[in-house]
């Protein structure tokens, strides 16, 4: 496939590995922010090909993983109501709420549909005027604009039987939270490429400056990731810190302006709880008052649901890079992708699930 295959070329990867090896003189800890990057790194074995001195930490950029338990409880409470068609991206269906997951209540008769795009849910609402159609809006700044336009269209069409249960989160605040923690070990970041296609990278300039840390906006194919790592290590080795852009074929400093404008119109920035990490200031995007009529939390009165996380899951420490998945006694035993205990095992982009799929022998 064009713009994919050439970034998987073994020769280029080999060359980049050689270059990384040549410039690495001391240990460095680098975090890839996005779950898509984690998946690619573990799938292609990139972490095993790097010099031993390079320690990769798998960051919190997996929206399925970090969606707090109470939102899954809210989703179940809504989906179980009569006359509701509950729509979601597929990977949210298996995430366990306090007692069950969406797939098991589907088996008990709830009308739950997997959709590819929030626009598919909107279409279902148009086709089923006597049903309440609810979309479970989860995701980072890459996904939030797709929900923003869907809400915009629902309002334009005055479509009263459609609403969104929104739990959208932003990347820069969680990076700041990680960096300001006392036990932070991250020395460099690979920034999330597709989040930056929407948001640009101006938000990362003050972060890099304040914490004196290199941030390299990076793509998702093996050659992208290796080049991102090379640029990051180059900065670390020369004692520099700046924001660099590896993913120039897609990312510009200003990002996608129409998408940002609609995000601002439809959502408000709020403090948000993250599964495994707790509340982070200004890290969430909630549906604005102007769109309150399409907010499923209000329509179905589920705002008060509040749930505590289970204590035997170490996902918080994995998301901060303090533990690796196989350090956890539950990994692969009481916690598997079919029966995940917590955040990092629930989605294929979570560090534990990626290790489980590609590195079960560890």
């Amino acid at each position: 496939m064009k713009f994919v295959d050439e970034y998987r070329a073994p020769l280029l990867a080999k060359q980049l590995l050689k270059n990384i090896d040549a410039i690495t003189s001391q240990p460095w800890t680098i975090m890839e922010v996005c779950g898509g990057q984690t998946h690619s790194i573990i799938k292609h074995g990139i972490d095993q090909l790097l010099p031993d001195k390079i320690n990769l930490i798998h960051g919190p950029g997996c929206p399925v993983c970090v969606t707090p338990l109470e939102y899954i409880d809210k989703a179940l409470a809504i989906a179980q109501q009569p006359n509701v068609i509950f729509c979601s991206f597929g990977d949210m269906l298996r995430v366990p709420a306090s007692h069950q997951d969406l797939l098991s209540i589907k088996a008990q008769g709830a009308d739950i549909r997997t959709v590819y795009s929030p626009l598919d849910a909107l279409k279902l609402a148009q086709e089923n005027p006597n049903k309440e159609v609810v979309f479970f809006g989860v995701g980072f700044e890459t996904t939030a604009p797709t929900v923003a336009l869907t809400l915009y269209q629902a309002k334009q069409q005055n479509l009263k039987n459609f609403s969104v249960l929104a739990c959208h989160v932003r990347v820069p605040p969680v990076m700041q939270a990680l960096l300001s923690a006392e036990d932070n070990s991250v020395q460099g970041f690979l920034g999330a490429g597709h989040v930056c296609t929407i948001m640009g990278y101006h938000e990362y300039l003050p972060l890099s400056e304040q914490y004196k840390i290199p941030i390299v906006i990076t793509g998702f194919e093996p050659v992208d990731i290796l080049q991102g790592l090379y640029l990051c290590i180059q900065q670390l080795e020369s004692g520099q810190h700046s924001v660099e852009n590896q993913y120039t074929r897609l990312v510009t400093q200003q990002g996608n302006q129409p998408a940002q404008q609609l995000l601002q119109q439809v959502f408000t920035t709020v403090d948000q709880k993250w599964r495994g990490l707790g509340e982070i200031a200004q890290s969430g995007l909630a549906i604005s008052n102007e769109y309150a009529d399409w907010n499923a939390e209000q329509r179905f009165a589920v705002s008060d649901i509040n749930t505590q996380e289970p204590e035997n899951c170490r996902s918080g420490s994995i998301l901060k890079g303090l533990s690796k998945p196989h350090d956890c006694p539950e990994f692969g035993k009481n916690c598997t992708p079919d029966h995940p205990l917590g955040a990092t095992m629930v989605s294929s982009e979570g560090a534990c699930a990626a290790y489980y799929h590609y590195r079960a022998h560890v």
């Binding site: 280029l12 980049l16 989860v138 996904t143 604009p145 336009l149 597709h194 050659v223």
Partner: protein
């Protein structure tokens, strides 16, 4: 979740920019996606698609530059 797949625009429908829809060819598989966020996109452009939306144009010159830089590096190594 932030997975985005590259494809080529082969048809565009609609006038108003937030309502434009494109047919995208993903190496043989075709799908209609929203072009709301790429008002500048035209037929034959390459874009990346996420959850039914084209979210960015692929800058073909930048893509070629990155790969060219790698190839030069490789040739240089071979000469050594």
């Amino acid at each position: 979740m932030c997975l985005a797949v590259p494809g080529k625009i082969i048809e565009i429908k609609g006038e108003e920019s937030l309502a434009r829809v494109a047919t995208i060819d993903f190496s043989g598989i075709q799908k209609e996606v929203s072009l709301a966020y790429l008002p500048e996109a035209v037929i034959h452009d390459y874009v990346v698609v996420h959850a039914g939306f084209a979210i960015a144009l692929i800058d073909q010159e930048e893509a070629a530059e990155t790969l060219k830089a790698f190839q030069q590096l490789e040739e240089f190594e071979e000469k050594l």
